[in-house]
């Protein structure tokens, strides 16, 4: 493989993705900022005052890491699924398919684009959160690495969704029926210690629980789960999903006749 060629090609995809995100900023940046502001006002400020503390933190402070992670996850996923499916639908994906860059470069370029948008929106939501509460990062390495790994996992998942999608409806099914419920049930708004034993055990099967809690641990220093387990799960997801993306591209599923 020509490494120099693939590096230039990857940078080109990433630059194209950044241009795309900034060109349609009203669709990509503004909505999550408004949604999260509403979450902070309604759940954190109005309802949160009546809830009191959770795990020793005031409710606004407790949900802020979860809301940041939620915006990172949904935007990483959404960016890749819409960009890659849009390219497939408009047939300009062929520009990349006829070129000599490797399948891995196409995948990594799009995933990097998704991560950049996820992190950009995550930073914006963090700034908004700082208007409502005080956040001190207790474990910077854990905070940053968990955000990046979670973003990569969902960008890869978005890529797979886009590969299989045949119409625009297909790219909204997973976010609506899978991603949103898992996020809401993934400990963004509550500690699973509040749940009965049975539902605590069920919650442990939700991968988003590990991401939200590991990220919350990085910022607040409190978590419902073991951080090592969270890293292991994230790394396994990255490897499995990347391998699946590679296989799909190699076989040409959904993109080559």
């Amino acid at each position: 493989m020509n490494v120099a060629l693939n590096l230039v090609a990857m940078k080109t995809i990433v630059r194209k993705e950044i241009v795309r995100v900034l060109r349609i900023w009203v669709q990509t940046i503004v909505p999550p900022a408004i949604t999260m502001t509403l979450y902070f006002i309604i759940f954190g400020n109005l309802i949160g005052r009546r809830i009191g503390t959770m795990d020793g933190f005031d409710y606004m402070q407790y949900i802020a890491p979860g809301l940041i992670m939620m915006s990172v996850i949904t935007n990483s996923y959404g960016n890749v699924v819409s960009s890659f499916f849009g390219a497939k639908f408009g047939r300009h994906l062929e520009e990349m398919l006829v070129s000599p860059m490797s399948n891995a470069t196409i995948i990594i370029g799009h995933v990097a684009g998704g991560v950049l948008r996820g992190v950009l929106v995550g930073l914006l939501v963090t700034i908004i959160a700082l208007f409502f509460t005080k956040l001190e990062v207790r474990h910077p390495f854990i905070t940053i690495s968990i955000v990046l790994l979670s973003s990569v996992v969902f960008a890869l998942a978005g890529f797979i969704n886009a590969v299989y999608a045949k119409k625009f409806d297909d790219i909204s099914i997973v976010p609506t029926f899978v991603l949103t419920p898992l996020t809401y049930l993934g400990g963004v708004f509550y500690s699973i210690s509040l749940l009965p034993d049975f539902w605590q055990k069920v919650s442990l099967a939700n991968p988003i629980l590990y991401m939200v809690n590991a990220f919350r641990y990085g910022i607040l220093g409190t978590s419902d789960i073991d951080i090592g387990t969270a890293y292991a799960i994230l790394l396994i997801f990255v490897i499995v999903l990347f391998t699946a993306c590679q296989q799909l591209m190699h076989r040409g599923v959904g993109i080559r006749e």
């Binding site: 080109t12 995809i13 194209k16 060109r23 062929e94 520009e95 398919l97 000599p100 860059m101």
Partner: protein, 320 residues
């Protein structure tokens, strides 16, 4: 693999087959080769398999069997090198319509690994050559149909491929732009780029190409230099505009004549006679000819005969 000793092959295919998931056998083992530097026409009726063949060569379609080599690089074993040699202008508009004209070409250069500075210079070179430089900041969707086709040519050329494949590049383009595109393609072919062209305008193929292959129902039914192919055409029909009206078609030795209207005579010329005979006989009868034209483009006539031969066979088979 079809190879000609001593000549560099830009492309060679061997027993190339494609059967789609719905069972449609689009290619039934085609073999053809294109010499480096050639201007090669790949012709055929709709659904003959041209676009499938081009799709396989450019890696957009998975083949079912056979082999493809591009400048000696097998697409199964050395795909990256093979792809680097190709520039593709597809039949369908496949531009990112929301991207600026400049970025469409610049990004494509990046996908081929061209460093940013070189990519920028090449982008300007080809946008100027295709007369799109003034529109470089406009979104691709704002271009006319002809401009979009020119943009696809600029995009395909930005990495300066050794083999340019054009799948109906002038479809829906007005005659003025079509002719300027012909001049451009002739120039880049003269500069050494091998070109494979599919087109429905057979006048275009006859005017530009030195070699022609005709594909029908997934098989190559003709593959020879253009001059050889045209020599196979034994008969030609000319339409003569006459200065004075006639009441009936004159009888001319060696020619079949039909009076289309008072002042238009259709003359079918066989292989044994020439146009001097025709004019000598017309002079004897004091018939003055104002102008003369071919009834059909020569390649078009041959193409129709080859394809119709198959259709006649089909009609006989179903008893029509």
């Amino acid at each position: 693999m079809v190879t000609i000793p001593g000549l560099m092959q830009a492309l060679s295919t061997s027993n190339l087959t494609k059967t789609y998931a719905n069972g449609n056998q689009a290619l039934k083992g085609i073999n053809f080769s294109v010499e480096a530097g050639d201007f090669y026409a790949l012709l055929g009726p709709n659904g003959a398999g041209k676009t499938t063949a081009i799709g396989i060569i450019s890696s957009l379609v998975n083949k079912s069997g056979g082999e493809v080599e591009i400048f000696g690089h097998n697409i199964d074993t050395n795909l990256e090198a093979a792809k680097s040699c190709i520039g593709l202008v597809p039949q369908e508009i496949n531009l990112n319509l929301w991207e600026s004209v400049h970025n469409v070409v610049l990004n494509q250069a990046g996908y081929y690994g061209l460093a940013r500075r070189l990519a920028g210079a090449r982008t300007e070179k080809y946008l100027r050559a295709l007369r799109l430089w003034d529109r470089r900041d406009d979104q691709a969707r704002s271009l006319s149909g002809g401009m979009k086709r020119r943009l696809m040519i600029a995009r395909a050329l930005v990495h300066e491929p050794k083999l340019l494949i054009l799948d109906e590049p002038t479809a829906g383009v007005d005659i003025e732009i079509r002719r300027s595109m012909w001049e451009f393609l002739r120039a880049i072919n003269a500069a050494g780029t091998t070109i494979i062209l599919t087109t429905h305008y057979l006048e275009e193929a006859e005017s530009l190409c030195r070699h022609v292959a005709i594909i029908d129902e997934g098989k190559i039914i003709e593959d020879a230099p253009m001059s050889t192919v045209l020599r196979k055409l034994q008969r030609e029909v000319f339409v003569l505009s006459l200065a004075e009206p006639l009441t009936e078609a004159p009888e001319l030795n060696g020619f079949e004549t039909v009076l289309r209207d008072d002042c238009e005579l259709e003359v079918d010329k066989g292989p044994a006679v020439n146009l001097n005979d025709l004019f000598a006989q017309l002079n004897k009868r004091n018939i003055e000819v104002v102008s003369l034209r071919n009834k059909a483009n020569r390649l078009e006539e041959l193409f129709m005969r080859l394809v119709e031969k198959k259709q006649d066979g089909f009609k006989e088979m179903v008893g029509q």
